[in-house]
């Protein structure tokens, strides 16, 4: 009798845990609700901690859907450099040379301004649910927050990272940590998201630290100074006309 009671209690516990645990797909949808928006404006600082020195690069970005326009504000060497992403194409305007260069092929894997981010990273569609299948593999505490561990596998070959592992805040559904892997299983990058702030109904990180595991240096801090969601973006800003 006692044995039956124990078994029933165990089954009930498992069932209740399973009910409380959302599926991988549900978690990705909730993350997308936080991180994706129709349009947004971000003023940010990128602090690149190189092996010998740290540099700070300031920029403003307007993004809508799969298009984004970035203008670099500082330092002086980079001021006026503009970057335009239209779907899967990327152009850079260099004011010193008065040239607009389209980046393609291996150039997209180059680092952005010497940071731990590549142009390919910047071109990635933030919408995770459409690109990856996800499974919840466990739970762990990160920065005193209970997190789901979610493993994501790419649905198609045309993504920069075939496998990703996320530690997602159980309450706010925002990743606090991420590992990005190559198809071979090699760990390529790590990110840590912190200073999570509420913007209306969504949660968004105020600071992201990227670490390219194949590079020396202490990583790149991405600090959001100003962010607005669902803003009006003039049409010319997301066209090649904005580059000059």
């Amino acid at each position: 009798m006692t044995h039956t009671i124990h078994m029933t209690a165990g089954l009930l516990l498992i069932t209740s845990i399973a009910a409380a645990q959302p599926s991988g797909k549900e978690i990705l949808d909730r993350i997308d609700q936080n991180m994706s928006a129709e349009s947004r404006y971000v003023k940010s600082k990128m602090i690149i901690h190189g092996p010998r020195t740290s540099r700070t690069i300031e920029s403003e970005t307007w993004a809508a859907g799969e298009s984004a326009f970035t203008e670099y504000l500082a330092p002086a060497r980079e001021r006026g450099t503009k970057m335009l992403k239209l779907e899967d194409q990327l152009w850079i305007f260099s004011p010193a040379t008065d040239r607009t260069i389209q980046l393609s092929g291996h150039l997209l894997r180059q680092s952005v301004m010497g940071s731990d981010l590549s142009y390919e990273d910047m071109m990635e569609d933030p919408d995770l649910a459409s690109k990856y299948d996800a499974v919840v593999t466990g739970s762990e505490t990160v920065d005193d927050r209970e997190c789901w561990i979610v493993e994501m596998h790419a649905k198609t070959e045309d993504v920069a990272y075939q496998k990703r592992k996320l530690w997602v805040d159980r309450q706010r559904f925002i990743p606090l940590k991420e590992e990005l892997y190559a198809k071979s299983g090699q760990l390529l990058k790590k990110t840590e998201l912190s200073d999570i702030q509420q913007h209306g109904s969504r949660w968004y990180p105020g600071r992201i630290v990227y670490k390219d595991m194949l590079k020396t240096g202490s990583g790149t801090e991405f600090i959001v100074d100003e962010i607005s969601f669902d803003v009006e973006i003039p049409e010319y800003l997301l066209s090649k006309a904005a580059l000059r």
């Binding site: 690149i48 190189g50 092996p51 010193a96 952005v112």
Partner: protein, 423 residues
Amino acid sequence: MLRFYLKGLFRDRSRSLLPIIVVTIGVTLVVLANSWVTGVLEDMVVFNARFATGHVKIMSRSYFENRSQQPNDLALIGTSALMASLKSEYPEMQWVERIQFGGLVDVPDENGETRTQGPGGGMAVDLLSDESREIERLNLEKSLVKGRIPQTPFEIILSDQFAGKLEVEPGDTVTLISSTMYGAMSITNFTVSGTIKFGTAALDRGGMVADISGIRQALDMTDATGEILGYFPSGEYDDVEAASFAAAFNEKYSNPQDEFSPVMATLREQSNMSGFLDLIDYFKGIIVTIFVVVMSIVLWNSGLLGGLRRYGEMGLRMAIGEEKGHIYRSLIIESVFIGLAGSVIGTLFGLFFSSLMARGIDISGMMQNSTMMMQGVMKAKITPAAYYLGFFPGLIATVLGTVLAGIGIYKRQTAQLFKELQA
């Protein structure tokens, strides 16, 4: 007595002609092979020293470890102070700063959009200072195909083949898309001042040369440089001197705990040059050994044939009382004359053919896809060793062959001699 032997050799040509021809051919080949290999390998060393390694090279410790990638993010910083120290502490050496860089060369159309582009690798050297000898060292003036040497920081020379592929002419603007030493993308315009033929397939495919001040600005390398190359005043590489020089420098300046501290490497320690330098030394030993062994076997056989032909003569000489040892010694003395004659003639022929090959053989057509830093023209070089390298082995091989062949004399039985003669 010596005149007697010489007369014998001159009068009986069948006794001397074949061995002399054999020795002459062998010695000629040894001298020629030595001059050719020495010339080709030394040219490669000199070429690499001028273009890539210097006689000694200073880099940061981590740059040295990853030198095959030419990582400018690991470049030396504060090089004006280091250069000043080097010039005051080692005034006899010639010190030059260089930056190796790579990138995409993009050619704009009339609207500033990309018309053509191609990957290239370049070298930034001091082209503008009055005291710089880099133009002469890299033989740039003579290698120009079109245009002129850069006269401003933002002018560039492209390999003629690369310029042809990009369809650019002197005066056209090209954009170099590269990485700064901090890893950021660098986009800089350069005016093509001229085109050049490097004479090596790897460089002719996509090589460029620009002034170091322009490349420093392009790659954000203020007061930084990838490499500092040092050249001995004689222009010749001396491995022993370079090694002691590097040891002294590293003792003073290099800190194994600091990956960015400078470290000096000798030419031998870079770009697999040690293999080439060792090869030059080993090769001489190898060809001499092979020559002595092969020639001894050939001349042994020739001596055996001669012994058979002179079977009767030997028998008669023994029958009339000449000692076996005396006959044996006389054969060896004859072989010394033959060896001397063959070696002298062979050395002369070898030097003659080497001097013809010193003008060079153009192999650039065979190296279209080569990635090695090799010159397209291979030349022989006559060194002092060429005058004696074939001479002594020629002599030794002839004597050794006779020593082996002549042993048969001791197997003849005096009791049988008259029977043999009657027969």
